[in-house]
Subunit: 449 residues, 2 copies
């Protein structure tokens, strides 16, 4: 049994040169379910759900609010059940994500609704089913949620999405006055305070607290701390003005994960430890009680749990103009089930998954089967020079924004998602068929309109 | 009736301040079919199919090969019927695209199969149904196609995809020896010649000619001409060596279209005129007969025909750090049905589609409803400052790589595609429902594997 770097899911091992995930051999999974295949390490997913909750509770104690799983990273009915069973909450951005949560019998009280442009139908449905919180994002939405809550004869609890002027990306953060983003109410311009006043004046809204989200794939605490500092100032201003406190501070997600072997997934305990120290100090300084603190990890839970298995179809050696050589290895998927390399320049790692190779490594490029030269999964990676058609490759850390952003580009069916645990496997999202691809084609007669 | 710039489809007009496409008012289309909505100008699509064919015939005469519509840009069963009825061919890259063509009863002889990594099943199916040509892309594929044709008791006609060392992008082209792409056989390295020899020696393959494709969204003839020159040299070498000629030269697609008002869609007549002059001169120089010349426009046909209609949901004014202001206008779609701005930095144009506005223009950013700050459709555009929730916006030139690359990110249903002509409308690809989104979720029991 060999070592795998920590960008693989917890229950991934190499046994006799073959990748084994959750006790299931890569070759067996492929024989049973085909390729490309998303293999989700169910036990790892459940551990990560609990780890974030435990870390929040450990460091915030009675002031631990809720962990909301960010469903945009990846959600299915089965995964929503795992989340529900773990006791944490879920955040949804659309009617579609809400429908998945409800199909899993998720407790509506633990559902939080996001989005910069929720439709009236989406808001009405969320109020109707009794979601715990709607995070309001614009002045127009305050009016809408209040009006639709009134129509439903309810009072809807809301958070205000505040843009604190902190933009964080990976290893740095930028502090600005005005955030040039579509989301939320600006702190510096006074829009956030105006939103507070509007909500306080709205008879069918109950303001629970403030929310912010500063970015994604972040590895340092500074950005979260700067944002928390600014939001706590606003909580203090509220306290001074209304002589009572807002009970909740939701600091969003964005905790980074390891895609490459030399990267390190953000440790939940370290993240919550740093945040709790900062929040406590800032509340003391501002003379307010510590609010309930909530967080919204998505990628940090789903990302590391999943590995994509591919079969190699063709290989090709290209001589480059500088005299160097590059080996192209084409697999049976590509930008349709992982758009992140093309979309964000995201870097991934791959290993030979079905056997050991003693061949020397060679500079390789892993590409897909789409009719587009930008259909590249890994631009540059050293892989054994004897990888050939029929071999299996595994890319780890594909659980977030892989299947969730998948397309049918080139009419390629989207892959299945299989959950593995203790040597067992089951499909939780089935592979599309050609019939599925044709199911939206309709034959209508033209009509005057 | 007001002027619309040429990035709108031919039968688009402004009547009384309202956008009318194919005789159908934007407001009527939206009332009937909802938003976001892809509106395809059917007559325009059919004109463009014929225009490319006519231009090819006009300039190449008896040596006009086939126009193959590149289905990756956008295909549905109904659109495949339009293409079939026009008499031109279709190129498909996958089993899924082939299935669409066959569902439209496309003449298999006019189907050309592309792809750098066709599966054995895809190749076998293509041979079984009798496709006219398979464009072989690797040495491994030559062996596969020959073997599978033999199994089927057939001889399969093939083209060789050659990488000629010409990379063309928009307004420039680069001439290199070795193309660093996943596709095809390098001319300079001798791989293309080796492929010719392998195919000539393969009993179940018939080599018809050579193919290349140099890029996309190209506006100048130089790149096409440089590629044609290199491929004609290879045809001449073939002639010298085998004392007979290859009959076909397929020069692919890549002709640019207008996305913005000040851009000009590549004129088919100009394109074919320049190409024909070059091909004739080069063949004369190389002392070979002019081959049948084929082309593969995709975006150049589908792109300009389609307009996306959106409804505005929220607006927001943001003060920027430099003191300037930006108006965010959020519509009810975004990166799920148009990934091109996020993926390629592609620029689009939009107009207010439901009414006239006399308000002053203001610097605006058109964004979608996805939970991602990069969900931007148009980064910077001047739009009337009184655009408000409920208004309709139209983005022209969305026919290529919009619906075809669409995802269900955030569980957003993919929009319908409606064909309009002469005041009539009909759905050709229906809108997804929430039931569709949940249809792939399955509940299986874990089993030992």
């Amino acid at each position: 049994m060999s070592f795998l770097p920590q960008n693989f899911s917890i229950n991934s091992k190499l046994i006799g040169g073959e990748l084994v995930i959750g006790g299931c051999k890569a070759t067996s999974l492929v024989a049973e379910f085909g390729t490309p295949l998303f293999v989700i390490d169910e036990a790892d997913f459940k551990v990560r759900l609990n780890t974030w909750r435990s870390a929040l509770v450990r460091h915030f104690g009675d002031q631990a609010g809720q962990v909301y799983y960010a469903s945009k990273s990846f959600i299915s009915v089965e995964v929503a059940k795992w989340i529900s069973e773990s006791g944490i909450g879920i955040d949804v951005c659309t009617g579609g994500e809400l429908a998945v949560a409800l199909a899993a019998d998720f407790d509506p009280e633990k559902i939080e609704v996001h989005g910069n442009n929720k439709s009236e139908a989406e808001i009405a449905r969320a109020i109707e089913v009794g979601v715990g919180k709607i995070v309001v994002d614009s002045h127009q939405e305050i009016e809408r949620v209040n009006r639709l809550a009134k129509s439903a004869g309810k009072t809807q609890s809301v958070l205000i999405r505040v843009t604190p002027g902190i933009e964080a990306h990976t290893h740095e953060f930028i502090s600005t006055a005005h955030e040039d983003v579509k989301f939320g109410f600006s702190l510096a311009s006074g829009a956030a305070w105006k939103a507070i006043e509007e909500i306080e004046a709205a008879p069918n809204l109950k303001l629970l607290g403030l929310h912010c989200h500063i970015g994604s794939q972040i590895f340092d605490p500074e950005g979260f701390e700067a944002a928390a500092t600014r939001l706590i100032s606003l909580l203090a201003k509220y306290h001074q003005h209304f002589d009572r406190q807002l009970q909740e501070l939701d600091l969003g997600g964005g905790y980074g994960i390891a895609y490459l072997p030399d990267e390190v997934t953000y440790d939940p305990d370290l993240a919550m430890s740093a945040l709790a120290a900062l929040v406590k100090a800032e509340c003391l300084k501002n003379k307010i009680a510590i609010p309930m603190v909530s967080i919204e990890p998505g990628r940090a839970i789903s990302g590391p749990t999943t590995t994509t298995l591919y079969e190699v179809g063709t290989t090709k050696n290209v001589e480059l103009d500088n005299g160097a050589a590059r080996r192209y290895i084409a697999v049976d998927g590509g930008m349709s089930e992982n758009i992140r390399p093309a979309l964000y320049g995201a870097q991934y790692f791959a290993i030979l998954a079905n056997r050991t190779s003693k061949a020397t490594s060679t500079s390789s490029r892993l590409v897909g089967k789409h009719c587009e030269s930008g259909d590249i999964l890994i631009s540059e990676i050293d892989l054994p020079s004897d990888i050939n058609p029929g071999d299996l490759l595994a890319i780890p850390a594909t659980g977030a924004y892989g299947r969730s952003m998948a397309s049918n580009y080139n009419h390629v069916p989207r892959p299945a998602v299989v959950a593995v645990v203790d040597g067992t496997a089951r499909v939780i999202v089935r592979r599309e068929t050609q019939d599925d691809l044709l199911a939206l084609d309709v034959k209508e007669s033209p009509r005057k309109i």
